[in-house]
Every structure is written in structure tokens, then in C-alpha cells.
Symmetry: D2
Subunit: 268 residues, 4 copies
């Protein structure tokens, strides 16, 4: 059966990508968009300047009117925390299951949405990272760290990235640390003859950041143990990677009767 | 507390490696070996020809006498299916927890050992593959195949290997297939201008076998999805890799009150 | 000193990329384009529909008029063999050094251009592949094959590619074969338990073709020898990679007094 | 035609490996060894304690006597600088071509050997590193650095290695720097939020050192450029890797009439 979908934020990068994805997927039906500009227009009216397809899909400026008038199965929010919170609350009130890519909600906001979701028995997924491959990499790394405590991370990005190490690398190390016995990686007497050779260190795990033109976003988690090595690698090339995660959430949110935070908690 | 351990098969490659490992581990105490030759001798009497350390550890020819006389916590069997079955049965009867690396038991033998283990409430682990990294690779591949159905396998071995693809590659494909939607990998109209370019195929999953001198045993499982890739790689360099698995089993078997088959089922 | 450049084929994918590259490079000056449509217009007149920058650069329909009127240092041709041959001949006659990305010239055409280049002492580069990294990979593979005759190729492309193996893989194998002792790779008695596992074979070199969504164009050449391995890998992400080669040719063509075919022959 | 070979240093790790290699190679004939202990014995007399094969090959304590009495084609020296220098000088005087794996000769010693080699027209190779793959990696990296100046090095070793970065990594960086335009790798405003994330730096080239159990000795040189990447990787598993280099030198030294220093100078 076709799923009727509403998207908020169609002019943003992620939102525009989602409009295209929903349009292409035969089992999805895009029935409306929410956009604080362009109310009363249709997607085809604003497609010129935003890389959107020429779809005859109505745009609502007022989310409540949208949820009232349009009978949707799933609501996909790709806006910003302020608007995203209001949209999600309303969708839950109207019994439309939200899939929310906005990150940066406060703890209070999350608690409020959790209550609302539970009370109405309406499933809801909030996912700060929709890249299924990246989330799997982190989950696998966390599991492997239980059995193979010797581990280092190499992350590689384009040379326009300013910060090193990447947020994903630091988060991966933190997740592994939850599962890993305390261990200082490398020989206790090792010595850097050039400063920084052994990389950054957090909880005894070393992180190495490579920056080169041509690269996009890549990470390898390398485990070593006598006689063997295990490597988990993720390569991210473009935003298309997030759409698989959005689709997964649209599929999974239907079976939920409460709010789930983080893609990792729907990957079983 | 020190764990008292008996090893069967000390002259085999795996067995000799296990004797060395147990000898080095401070919390383990090797109290006896079982060997159908050399009964009445000590490990130090046979160390010359087998790369064994010079340990004053008694060797028993009769397993029952061994289990009667020596008060052990764990029994490690690294022999062959026939002897392995008899040893494991006896160990269970004497309440000594078996860790068995022998593969090739029949279904009847496994069922008998399962019954015995359950009846006595004595934990037992039978593991055809002790390489923790390889088992994790297969588990992760199986999980990832649920979310990323486009996948190919590259396995690389030394050029003295006769069969292609490797047993591990075929097993990995089968495990992924349990979780994966049916999908023919590659373009439906793809064409080999040189036969075999797209590799072997099983259930729509392609497997590529590289054979080169210098290599040992390596496998990569490559998942692709629009805009991203996820790779899980295992490198096996030597038999030392199996000893981490043996240690893990020795640790885990104590908390079990039944038989577990396969390392994957004690990795949680 | 600024180099004055003419580009033919500004509406093609490579041509449009070249227009942008020349526009951004401070030491280059784009003085004209040749386009069989749009004569008399300016690049800014056609930029809307072709992703071209809004440059006030004249477009000529007639190449001879262009070469006569515009005093250029280098002529970059990114058209098709028919037009490309005529353009290059004319540029040589007018003493403007051609850098030609068109492939598919006949032997007669190449011979004619070689004569013309030599007679006029005007340098000319014809490069079927402008990707410096790919050309270096092939050159290095050719050299390594002299010393390490055991070699296999893995090439990986997106799953919309129809042919396997890739042209680059076949060419790399042929180049290695020039330098390599005759050798059948793998064990003489090896056996495929699944057809195609050992890949395609040409001159005893095995080629494996992986096809996955998310990939672009990647190739690894793997050499093995007792106790060691050498791998040469090229990753191609987008057409930007060709522009480094175009720039290299623009720089090198000035020092030439004859025609050079293939980027590999200006990499020393 | 069979080559008659003398080896000095048969009890050392490299020497013992060379004795085995020469013994196995059908076109080589090991006719004598030089060893400051064990003069007058045969290799089979000392094989027990040194992993040597049981060969009836005479051992000389005095190198001059050896070169006088034995009519050899090639002399392979795998000893230490002091003895190595004396041996090589004598071999050149007796017209036997030396292949010397000893490193650490002084400039004066090298000059003296160069003179002697030239005067007698007797070829001689001195190679501090016999690993053909590693030498090719460094040569290729040096060439690529001319065209792709953005480069970083990742070297990976077992966790018993004390120094970071490895000597090979530092040497590779220095070789690339000879060919590379001056360039600070990475964004000018990049910032380490954890110290050392961007690795060590020499001449603007970043080097990252990974240390994990299970690893042996591995290095990757990664070049990046808009839209593409080129990677050159060497994996070293054991000393067998050096024997290919020794064989190459034995073959090449015959065509030389002077001294060549470094394997890279006989790889053309």
C-alpha cells in the first residue's frame, strides 16, 4: 500500500533530496510540503531555484492546517530545532508518525515529545544521523571493542575541513570506550621522534586525521590482536547516503508506539 | 582465582599453541594433558620434537583416569572428532567444563553432548572457528545485509590454496542471505567481455578470489548504497589468532549451564 | 606570464569543466571558445543551460577565423574525433599549441598531425586520459611487473556500468604484460568450486570486477611475493580529476617541439 | 648456467635465510660460506642450532683463503659493517662480484669500494634495504609527488615497535620532498581539538603511525587531488621478502662494471 508523506523543509539541502527520493519511490506518495515561505504555492512553482522536481504538490505555511487537511501516514521533518519541535508536536497530536532529521533538541523538548508519543501510542523517530552505513560502523566498532581492546581510528576528509579529529571519530571512540577494558594502546615505552606521529588520544585510543583534496568523508576503525586484524570502514560520498536512512525510518516508524532516538536503536 | 586446565592433543599444531598460551597466562594453571601416545611422561619429555615448552605437566593416555585424578575447572579439546566426542562426554560426566575446537561432530553426537550438558548443568562450548575477528566479521556482515542488500565479497589467500572461493566466503554469503532481501547484484544488462570478470555468484552475491604469494588469509565484505560504502575486513596472519578465541571460551564457559555451539553465540 | 587559451567544445561535460578551471586559474586567460552552434555569442549568453560561468568570452563557429583573429598560446580541444582533427590541424598551422582530449583518432590522422607538428616545430599533446593519478597507476604497475610478476587487478565501479572488466583494467594488464615474464597466476591445480571465483584472465593475469551502488571508478593492482605485497590504487570521484591533467598538459606543451601521444609520455 | 655463490654470515637471520634461498634455487650453487667461528666445519655441522639446511658446504674462517680456493661468481655479504667492508674489498680484489646487505658503511669506506670496483671493472651492489616492494613504493611515491603534491603517509607496525614514525616513513617523505613543490598539507586554518590528531609533520607532509598487535610492517602513501586519489601501499610480512631483492641483485650484478648503492638504482 502506498504511504502518504508530508515533508517539512523542502528548500533545504536534505529536504530537497528527500522530495526527490519520495518522488522516485513507487510505494511513496508525496501529498504536501510545509514551508514557512511559499504557502499556497505548489512545489513546481519553486522548483527553478531549488533543484526540486516539477511536482504538483501543495505547500502549506501553517503546519496545523496541513496536518488537518491532509491525511498522511508519515511526516518527515528536515528543518531546524525550533520549527522542528513545533512540527513534531503537532504531527503527534494529529496521529501522523514523525521521522525527524533535525538534531539539537533540548532534553526538555525530547522529554515532551516522548510523553506525547507514548500517550498517543504514535511512533516517532528522531535521528541526528541518517547515514545507515556510518551508524552500523559505530555499532559494530562498539561490539568489537568488547573482544578486541586494541584499536585505533583513521578518519580521512577533504582538506577544507577545519577541525581534527572529526566528530564521528570522537563519538566512535566514546562508544567503544563504554565496552572496552581500560587499555593504553601501543608500547608503554613508545617514543615520538616527530611530535604527533602517534596521533590524538582519548581514553587510550589513538585517532589519526588525514586531510587531502579529493576525499569526502571516510573512517576506518582498526582492531588488532595477535595474528589477526579486523577493520570496519565507512566511505561517505554525498548526501544521497542519508536517504537510505530516511527510507528505513519511514518503514520502521509504522511498527513503533513510542519515540525512538537515534538510528542505532532501530537497527537490530 | 587461577583456573586449572587440562588440554587434549598437545602435539597438534593448535594444541601446542594452546599449551604455550596457557603456560604464559598468569591466571591459568595447566595441570595435565591427554595424549593417546606418551602416557606416563611429562610435557618436558616430549617438548624437543613438538615446539612445546619444558613443563613438568603429567600426560595421561586414558582420559577417564585423567579426569578422575586431576581436579580441573576447564577441559580444552583440540583433537579429532572421534576422540573429541569421547573426551567431551567424559569431561561432562566428571563436571569439568569442555571447550572444544574440534569440528566435524555428527548431529547425533552434538545432540548427545547437548543432553549431557543440560542434565548435569555443566557449561560446554564447541567452536569450529576460534578466530574472534573472523566470527565478528561474519556476524557484522549478516547484520549489515539487512539494511544494505548490495554486497560483494573479496577473499584473498596465498597462491598455494587450491579451492576458490574459500569456505569462509561461502559461509559469509549464506549468513547474509538469511537476512537479505533477494537481489541480483549489478546491472541487469551487465555483460562480461572476459569470462569470469564478475566473479562467482551465489544467491545473487558475487565472490572474488585473489591468490598471491605473500598473502595469508584475508576477506573483505563490501556493501554499497547510493552515496556511501561500508566495508568489513578481516586479516588472518597466523594461528596465534585462534588463542584469543580459546581464552574467551575459557572465560565464558564458566557462566554457562548448557552447551553452546559456535563462537558467534557467546559474542553478545 | 598569463597564458592565453582557446577552448573548443565548451558545452560538453569536459569542456564546461575546462572553461571553469581556466576561469579560476589566475595565470590563465580564456580569450575565445569554438562551438559549432552559438557563433557570435558570448559564453555568458549560453551559461544558463550549461552550467558555464557568466564570462564575456567570444564564441566562434569557424575555427580558422578564431585562430586568425585571436592570438592564443594554447588551444584545448574537448570535442569529437572528426571536428577535433580539423581543429588540431588548423591550430598547428597557425602555430597555436594544441592540447587534445579527444580519443579515437585513426592512425592516419595521428600520423598527419605528427608530421604537421614536427614540420612547424609546434608542440602538441593528445591525451585519451587526462587523469594523472590513473596514468601514474598504470605506469607504476608496468614498472612493478618487471620485478613482481605475481599480480591481480580488482576494479570497482558503480552498478550502472554495463561492461566488465573495465577498459582501464584490460589496458593495465596489457601494459604489465609488456614487462612481465610469462606466468600463470595462482596454483597450477587450483579449482573453482563456484564458476568465475578466480575472475577473468588475460595473459595469466586475473581481473576481478566489483559493481556496487555508491562507487564511482576505482582500481587496485595487487602484487604479491614471498613475505610482502605491493598495492597501487586509484580512486576517481568526478571529472574534476581530469582538470589536473589538462593543466599539466598546458604547462608541458610549451616545452615541446613535436607531438606527444598519451599523458604517460610527459610524466617523467 | 649455474651461478657459484659464497655467503658470509650464515648464522645470522638474513644469512640463514639466504643459505636456504640459494639452496632451493636450481640455477644457484652454494659453494662456500664465510663465518668467523666454525672454520673448517661444514654447514651441516652447525645446522642444528641455526635453522640451516643440512648442506655439505665448507665454512672458511679466513675470507682471503676462501676467495683464493673457491672459484665463485657472486659473493653475498650479510654480516656487519666492519667485517663487511673487509670481505667486500677482498672479493673485489679476487674478481668476485659482491652483493652486500650490510648497511652503515662510512663515506670513506664507500668511496674506497667504489674506486676498487671501478679499477677492476667488477660490478658490486650495496643495498641497505633488499625489500623490492618497499623500494618500489618509495620510488613511485617520489615520482608521484611531482604531479600530486598533496600527500600524507600512514605507517602501521606491531605494538612492540618503540619509535614513531618509522625510518621508512621519514625516508619516503624526504624522497618525495626532493620532487615536490613546497606545500603545507591541509587547510591553513585547520585546528586540532585533540593534540596530535593531524599526525607528525616534516616539510609540510603529515605522517601517522598506527601500532597494533598482529600487524607486522605496513605503509601507505596517500595522494589527493580534486576528484581523485592515488595510494601506494607496501605490506611486509616476514624476512622472505628480502630474498627476492637478493636474487635480483645476484642477477643484476653480473652486468655491472662499477659499484651501485641502493636497490632503487638497479630498478629501471
Amino acid at each position: 500500500m502506498t504511504k502518504k508523506i508530508i515533508i517539512a523543509g523542502p528548500r533545504g539541502k536534505m529536504g530537497a533530496e528527500a522530495v526527490q527520493m519520495v518522488d522516485k519511490e513507487p510505494s511513496y506518495d508525496l501529498i504536501a510540503c510545509i514551508d514557512r515561505k511559499n504557502g499556497g504555492k505548489s512545489i513546481k512553482d519553486i522548483q527553478d531555484t531549488n533543484g526540486l522536481p516539477a511536482l504538483d504538490v501543495p505547500i502549506f505555511e501553517n503546519p496545523e492546517t496541513c496536518f488537518q487537511e491532509m491525511d498522511a501516514d508519515v511526516f518527515v521533518d528536515l528543518t531546524v530545532p525550533g520549527a522542528g519541535f513545533e512540527h513534531t508536536k503537532l504531527a503527534l497530536l494529529y496521529g501522523i508518525r514523525p521521522v525527524v532529521g533535525t538534531s539539537g533538541f533540548s532534553d526538555d523538548q525530547l522529554a515532551a515529545l516522548q510523553d506525547l508519543s507514548m500517550t498517543h501510542g504514535t511512533g516517532c523517530i528522531i535521528a541526528p544521523n541518517f547515514a545507515v552505513g556510518a551508524v552500523l560502523m559505530m555499532q559494530f566498532a562498539k561490539t568489537a571493542a568488547k573482544y578486541l581492546p586494541d584499536v585505533e581510528i583513521i578518519e580521512k576528509h577533504h582538506d577544507q575541513k577545519l577541525d581534527a579529529p572529526s566528530g564521528t571519530a570522537v563519538k566512535t571512540a566514546a562508544m567503544m570506550q563504554e565496552n572496552r577494558e581500560n587499555k593504553q594502546q601501543g608500547h608503554p615505552d613508545e617514543k615520538e621522534t616527530l611530535d604527533g606521529a602517534r596521533g590524538a588520544e582519548t581514553d587510550g585510543i589513538h585517532i589519526h586525521s588525514v586531510r587531502l583534496p579529493g576525499l569526502v568523508a571516510h573512517q576506518e576503525v582498526l582492531f588488532g590482536s595477535p595474528g589477526q586484524g579486523l577493520t570496519i570502514k565507512h566511505d561517505s560520498y554525498n548526501r544521497a547516503s542519508f536517504m537510505e536512512g530516511v527510507k528505513l525510518c519511514i518503514r520502521k516508524v509504522e511498527d513503533l508506539d513510542r519515540l525512538v532516538y537515534g538510528l542505532e536503536n532501530i537497527l537490530d
